[in-house]
């Protein structure tokens, strides 16, 4: 039993090494095929990284829906804080930040680029503001509307703004991109299958004589097919690793400019590369597509090669 298993394993190792050797003997054509596969895999990977980074860069606010409560200009800070305190007791509210007019002005001066111009103002034109984060179970349109009415009912309040529209737009854009990612992955995945299938088909035609002889001496279809399946797997694996390389160098090239862009928004955001999970999906995807392309092609074309003495 163990002998049988060993020789079964040995046959697979043989087929694997044989396929590897054959690819290595034609480095140029192998490389061209790998490039095509890598580009097809790198595009969906790039989209995925773009969506992930966009989501993380825009951080909490992509998910959080906030209310901004603007007080009338003559309402003193103490009153605003007192009202905030009473609102915190209300259900449906996760957190309330009081932003004083002075703090708002300082922030505006620091980040808006109008610092010098603001210096000529004699008085602070900004009101005190409450940033209200609804509890996660109170983010529906109805409960947000209830919250808006609650704050709007206070006589001290000038305006209640729900910062929801651009958030939902932004989320919609990300959703479109994610769909695009799935479509691109499907189309390019089919492309990878076609490229590998065609490569394997040519390989089979090139080795027609060898396949015939192998069948004559009693090689089963499975035995004859095995090296082609390994070749497909190796193409898929090599293409996936190359796609990783392409993505990594793209990130390397973008890191500095993106960091510079982030600094202008007062963020320390740095681009993140593919996670272990994304890499796992990339490599498994490459291997599976390679195997599938080779299997489809080999099963179809090997059947037509029967020995004729």
């Amino acid at each position: 039993m163990s002998l049988g298993l060993t020789s079964y394993g040995a046959r697979h190792v043989q087929a694997f090494l044989g396929s590897l050797g054959r690819l290595a003997r034609n480095p140029f054509s192998t490389f061209l095929t790998l490039i095509v596969i890598a580009l097809a895999l790198a595009l969906p990977l790039g989209l995925e990284l773009f969506v992930t980074n966009a989501r993380i860069a825009t951080g909490g606010f992509a998910n959080a829906i906030d209310l901004s409560v603007y007080f009338k200009a003559d309402v003193p800070l103490a009153k605003a804080e007192q009202l905030a305190k009473s609102a915190r007791a209300r259900p449906g509210i996760a957190q309330i930040d009081v932003i004083s007019a002075d703090a708002a002005l300082a922030e505006f001066r620091a980040y808006s680029g109008f610092g010098a111009a603001l210096g000529v103002l004699s008085a602070n034109p900004l009101p005190h503001v409450l940033h209200v984060h609804p509890a996660s179970d109170a983010e529906s349109a109805a409960s947000l509307e209830a919250l808006r009415r609650y704050f709007a009912a206070w006589p001290e309040v000038d305006l209640v703004q729900i910062d929801a529209q651009w958030v939902s737009r932004f989320n919609a854009i990300l959703e479109v991109l994610r769909r695009l990612l799935i479509i691109a992955a499907a189309i390019l995945g089919a492309g990878v299958i076609a490229v590998i299938g065609n490569t394997i088909r040519l390989e089979i035609l090139n080795r027609r004589g060898e396949i015939e002889v192998t069948k004559i001496v009693g090689g089963s279809n499975g035995f004859v097919r095995r090296p082609f399946l390994y070749a497909g797997i190796l193409y898929g694996l090599g293409g996936a690793l190359l796609a990783w390389g392409i993505a990594a160098s793209a990130i390397g090239m973008l890191a500095a400019p993106v960091a510079a862009l982030a600094r202008t928004y007062g963020s320390r955001y740095a681009l993140i590369g593919p996670t272990a999970q994304e890499l796992g999906i990339l490599i498994a995807g490459g291997v599976i597509l390679g195997w599938l392309g080779a299997w489809l092609s080999a099963t179809r074309h090997l059947r037509s090669i029967e020995p004729r003495a």
Binding site: L3, Y8, K215, S220
Partner: protein, 230 residues
């Protein structure tokens, strides 16, 4: 070992390769199939090695009816038959060792065992030391012997050869036939198709004569003749 019972083979192009042919080859026997080209010699060998199936009648090889053998069992069936071709059918870009080892590799033989048996087979055909040579670096006679080594390396009980001496000069042809005779002496059943009647007569072995797809009779064996004319 081999029984043909009223076997006919019609090819897709309409050519009749074999007509109502019956013959019987015993285990351990060495038999020649003779006749002009197109007489049906190759058809008999193809039917034995399951490269073709009979249109009518039954072919039984080693107790197995080839007409009803499922396709998935064909590889295992062929591993019990060594085949020698006139054009050798060697893999020209692989060294002699790989060519001879192929039937063992296909059967999943352990590597150590493969090494030993390939050397033994090459020794039997007098080509020990040529393992690393490529087939095209060898003479035609040597290539044919590589083909024979490949056919016998897995020690099949049945060896069939289609015009194995067709491309060889008379001395080499005799040498190849003597080689077959040695395998027969250790118990292998051997069927050789050839048009070289002189060589066959010289060896004095049974001969099944084919003509236009019909078994005409046999020499040196009245029993098989009765079967053939039944």
């Amino acid at each position: 070992m081999i029984v043909f019972d009223r076997v006919s083979k019609r090819y897709p192009n309409g050519r009749e390769g074999l007509s109502n042919a019956s013959l019987r080859i015993e285990e351990g026997e060495m038999v020649f199939l003779t006749g002009r080209s197109g007489a049906g010699k190759s058809t008999v060998l193809k039917l034995i090695s399951l490269l073709e199936r009979p249109t009518r009648g039954t072919v039984v090889v080693g107790g197995k009816n080839t007409g009803s053998l499922a396709s998935r069992h064909i590889p295992a069936f062929r591993r019990r038959i060594g085949i020698v071709f006139q054009d050798h059918k060697l893999l020209t870009e692989r060294p002699v060792f790989d060519n001879v080892a192929l039937p063992l590799v296909v059967a999943g033989t352990p590597l150590k065992e493969i090494d030993k048996r390939v050397r033994a087979a090459l020794d039997q055909v007098g080509l020990l030391g040529k393992e690393r040579a490529l087939p095209l670096e060898l003479s035609v006679g040597e290539q044919q012997r590589v083909g024979i080594a490949r056919a016998v390396v897995s020690k099949p009980p049945l060896l069939i050869a289609d015009e194995p001496t067709g491309n060889l000069d008379p001395d080499l042809a005799v040498e190849v036939m003597r080689l077959f005779k040695r395998f027969q002496e250790v118990g292998v059943t051997i069927v050789v198709a050839t048009h070289d009647v002189h060589l066959v007569r010289e060896l004095g072995l049974r001969e099944i004569v084919l003509d236009h797809g019909h078994v005409q009779g046999t020499e040196n064996d009245p029993l098989a003749g009765m079967v053939a004319t039944r």
